[in-house]
């Protein structure tokens, strides 16, 4: 029989002062603290970049609005996009990976704890450097402030001739720093999952989340160098007289786009797969059934990872590639729909025949499933290159990728947040505030992003700071902006809930959800050493075996 022990809750030393507590954060190499620091910092950036989005929406609410100056608007959408992808998305990936992987594989820390701390600080200082551009970038003759070149920073707008001052340099250097952070964090998670699993945990007994984290972190290692290389070339162009992207001296603007999207498309999957990971852990627990088709889920994820490296130029259907290239990238784009569809069907198969409990993590998972389905379908429409010629760089695309990143990624992360918060803090998040968060956010999301598809169909390009009345965009944009406000109130409920429940929430106990993976065997919050004795597992669901000795999983796997 399995020999896990349910450890007694650790008596925690009350920390004496704020200084002591901050000091313990600065010197820590504990994967749990670092994971929570990643997540906390990400939520901070989420609020800031979300407020910027609110500013953008206020400006676009009515035609010919003058709420934001054009240059302020352009900085806002650049900072919003850059922050959300690199400072929120990537940090949540690192944070969840850091916090959960060691706990789920039954080990005491990451493989390289100091490297782990180094990664976090690189990320934090990269993020702060990006925002410091508001003060530091004006440079010569007052040119520039925060970056204003869009989050994919197409050449040659970023060249020395068109982007004076230092705003683009801040964009390059801060992202190089956060990339170092992401890279070391990726190496660490892979090394941990590969080499530190507890006794009995073969690769095919790992929780799905750990599998997906391995795939994601391999993708990070594969994709990020393309961005870093391109950024270094851009720096050489700007300061050392290089001509990689300098079109006036024979450079190529299209090469930048290739480099960027060789990173950028895998990046989309780097963000969405951790959401898949949370959903793959939560849906089974709240349906009271094991995940349907575990080996197929692993295979489909690996396939997504592989195929996603060959689809990048579907972001570039309008740059004038040959018909052969366009057809190639259309085909590879459709191909990725197959493993993605398999995953959706497997989640449905898990729910089918279960006894589904609609607690908050599950509610967010259902929202995720519904929204990710739509995002996938609009993604397929965008893969049809001729239709893409109409829709790319329009509000339809903006709606599509917010559907994947907000409706998919963020909802998956919220599900994970509600699910593991009791483990990390020892108290449950308040259900009433959580429901307010859920409904306001989901309704706001749909009001904003369902509506946003339509101006794209009516010819509204993205990244315009204003528009004239009479093109059918006015009402749609107004409704979109109202939805943005609803989402903001939802996020406010979320933030209040986190802070309040940390003190006043109901005590969670070790295993509030009656779940099956190893992190629920230890105390909430776990002691610094995670497990008093090293667990031994015989199946994918060690706690199921423990709770049902008459009908253990290992008999069937």
């Amino acid at each position: 029989m399995a020999t896990q022990e349910i450890a007694l809750a650790e008596v925690r030393q009350p920390t004496t002062s704020l200084i002591d507590r901050l000091h313990s954060l600065v010197v820590t190499v504990d994967h749990k603290k670092l994971g929570l620091m990643y997540i906390g910092t990400a939520i901070g950036f989420l609020v800031v970049a979300g407020l910027m989005a609110l500013g953008l929406r206020l400006q676009l609410a009515v035609p010919n609005n003058t709420f934001l100056e054009p240059d302020v608007f352009n900085r806002f959408f650049t900072m919003h996009g850059t922050s959300m992808v690199f400072l929120v998305g990537m940090a949540l990936v690192s944070g969840f990976g850091n916090y959960l992987v060691p706990l789920m594989i039954g080990t005491r820390d990451m493989a390289f704890p100091r490297l782990n701390a180094f990664g976090y600080w690189m990320y934090l200082f990269g993020g702060l450097l990006l925002y410091f551009s508001y003060l530091g970038a004006p440079g010569l003759a007052g040119h520039g402030s925060a970056p204003d070149v869009g989050w994919f920073a197409y050449a040659p707008l970023t060249g020395a001739a068109f982007s004076r001052g230092h705003s683009t340099d801040y964009w390059i250097l801060s992202l190089l720093l956060t990339s170092i952070g992401s890279t070391v964090s990726a190496i660490n998670v892979i090394a941990t999952a590969v080499s530190l699993r507890c006794k009995g945990m073969t690769l095919m007994r790992m929780p799905l989340l750990v599998w997906l984290m391995i795939v994601v972190n391999f993708m990070i290692l594969l994709a990020l160098p393309a961005l870093s290389a391109a950024q270094i070339m851009l720096l050489i162009d700007r300061y050392l007289g290089g001509h990689f992207f300098d079109t006036q001296a024979g450079g190529s603007a299209v090469i930048w786009q290739h480099f960027f999207w060789i990173f950028g498309h895998p990046e989309v999957y780097i963000l969405i797969i951790p959401a898949f990971a949370c959903v793959s852990e939560i849906v089974p627990v709240f349906s009271r059934k094991p995940i349907f088709g575990y080996p197929v889920m692993v295979g489909a994820t690996v396939m997504i990872g592989l195929i996603s490296t060959s689809v990048w130029a579907h972001h570039m259907f309008s740059v004038g590639m040959t018909s052969v290239s366009n057809i190639f990238f259309a085909i590879s784009t459709f191909t990725v729909a197959v493993p993605t569809g398999i995953k959706i069907f497997n989640w449905l198969g898990t729910m089918y025949g279960g006894k589904i409990r609609f607690d908050l993590p599950m509610l967010f998972c259902i929202a995720f499933l519904f929204q990710f389905l739509i995002a996938g379908l609009t993604g397929m429409m965008l893969g049809v290159a001729p239709l893409n010629w109409q829709l790319t760089d329009s509000y339809f695309v903006v709606a599509h990728f917010h559907y994947t990143l907000v409706g998919g990624f963020l909802c998956g992360m919220f599900a994970g947040f509600y699910y593991w918060y009791p483990k990390a803090v020892g108290r449950l998040l308040d259900r009433r505030l959580g429901l307010w968060h859920f409904w306001l956010f989901v309704i706001g999301f749909h009001v904003t992003f369902d509506t946003m598809h339509f101006p794209g169909l009516l010819g509204m390009p993205r990244r315009i700071f204003t528009y004239d009345a009479g093109r059918g965009w006015d009402t749609l944009n107004f409704v979109t902006s109202i939805g943005g406000l609803l989402q903001a109130v939802g996020i406010l409920c979320f933030v209040i809930n986190i802070i309040r429940s940390a003190k006043k929430g109901k005590l969670a106990g070790n295993d509030p959800w009656d779940a099956w993976t190893l992190e629920w065997t230890t105390s909430s919050p776990p002691a610094e050493y995670n497990f008093a004795t090293e667990p031994v597992v015989r199946s994918r669901r060690p706690l199921w075996d423990l709770k049902h000795p008459e009908d253990p999983d290992w008999k069937y796997e």
């Binding site: 459709f334 197959v338 497997n346 089918y352 609009t378 239709l387 109409q390 009001v447 369902d450």
Partner: protein
């Protein structure tokens, strides 16, 4: 410890009702603008030219496939939520533990592969059809050059240069008159998008792209620059003015004329040529041969100023000449610090450039 359930039935019902009402409201609200024929609305589903027409036909097929997939999968999701929800008294036992099924996995792998195969065929055919079109004899050739933040339009065979408003002939039942466009950029990347005529194609410096349109109905078609190109990306509008072949010929003849030299505007002409206007603008047949700004030879034949930022009227022209930064902040035309008299004189000269 297990958390108990709270009014889940109510929640599921609310969720379904909400999704349903929202979908209805949104879809109903969009039928008119997307498919109707409101003036000035540039819906991609109301094409008046190839290749936009062909794209629309392809998109209907894709939309239909996506709609069917959506109904089936969302239906399954809702069915599972309702049918397998946790009910009172369920706490006692766990449901049967099912680990998977290879047959079912195979079924939902093969089915998507078939759908993908259909999509690949349709997409490839449409791509090849649109991209590999060769210009028939008699095709109008135009070159569009993107600038921060306006469009230079050249007809190399006709010797015409204009800006921001592309004139093309309409095809009719008897004559096919497509226009082939060479797309270039003078500075950063731009993108040419007139939704009712064709999908977008980028204008990229140090590179030449091709696209074509074949409109059938005379009229004015609005479009935007669709690739972010800097501060005034929003005010980089393009108009395509489709004319009957006879009208188009007349327009060509007018554009070929030399610039007007009316004696009444002599004073303004002198101010214009004494200032640095001539460094950036061309007026054909004069010493003004600048290449950074739009050609002004027949300025008054255009409907708008500053790439669609304002209609071309006396007041806006005066405001523009006095301080372009007020009308379009960040644009590359500086405030020339002209006196009121000078502004009036220049404007009255420009207004003779018909």
């Amino acid at each position: 410890m297990r958390l108990h359930l709270y009014r889940h039935r109510k929640m599921v019902r609310a969720l379904l009702l909400f999704a349903f009402v929202l979908t209805c409201v949104i879809v109903a609200g969009q039928v008119e603008p997307v498919l109707g024929s409101t003036d000035g609305v540039t819906s991609i589903f109301r094409p008046l030219s190839q290749p936009a027409q062909e794209i629309k036909e392809t998109s209907y097929l894709v939309l239909a496939i996506c709609a069917v997939i959506f109904v089936i999968v969302a239906g399954l999701l809702i069915y599972a939520m309702v049918r397998f929800r946790h009910r009172a008294g369920d706490e006692a036992s766990e449901p049967p533990q099912v680990y998977g099924s290879n047959q079912i996995e195979l079924a939902w792998t093969v089915l998507p592969i078939l759908i993908v195969f259909v999509l690949i065929l349709v997409t490839s055919r449409t791509i090849a059809d649109i991209q590999n079109r060769k210009p028939p004899p008699g095709t109008v050739q135009a070159t569009v050059v993107g600038h921060q933040w306006w469009w230079e339009i050249r007809y190399p065979e006709l010797g015409i240069v204009t800006a921001n408003e592309l004139h093309v002939p309409a095809s009719d039942g008897t004559r096919r008159l497509p226009t082939f466009l060479k797309l270039q950029s003078a500075d950063v990347a731009h993108s040419f998008w007139v939704p009712q005529l064709a999908g977008k194609t980028d204008l990229i410096p140090n590179r030449e792209n091709l696209m074509w349109i074949e409109p059938t109905q005379p009229g004015t078609y609005l479009g935007n620059c669709a690739e972010y190109c800097g501060m005034q990306h929003a005010r980089m509008l393009i108009r395509v003015i489709v004319q009957s072949p006879a009208e188009f010929e007349r327009w060509i003849a007018e554009q070929k004329r030399a610039a007007a030299e009316e004696p009444s505007a002599q004073a303004g002409r002198q101010v214009f040529f004494a200032n640095s206007c001539v460094n950036c603008h061309t007026i054909r047949g004069t010493s003004a041969q600048g290449a950074f700004g739009p050609d002004l030879t027949h300025l008054m034949s255009r409907e708008t100023l500053a790439s669609g930022a304002a209609p071309n009227t006396t007041e806006t022209l005066r405001a523009w000449v006095r301080d372009p930064q007020k009308l379009k902040v960040g644009c590359l035309m500086p405030n020339m610090q002209l006196s009121d008299t000078e502004v009036d004189q220049i404007v009255s000269y420009l207004q003779t450039l018909k």
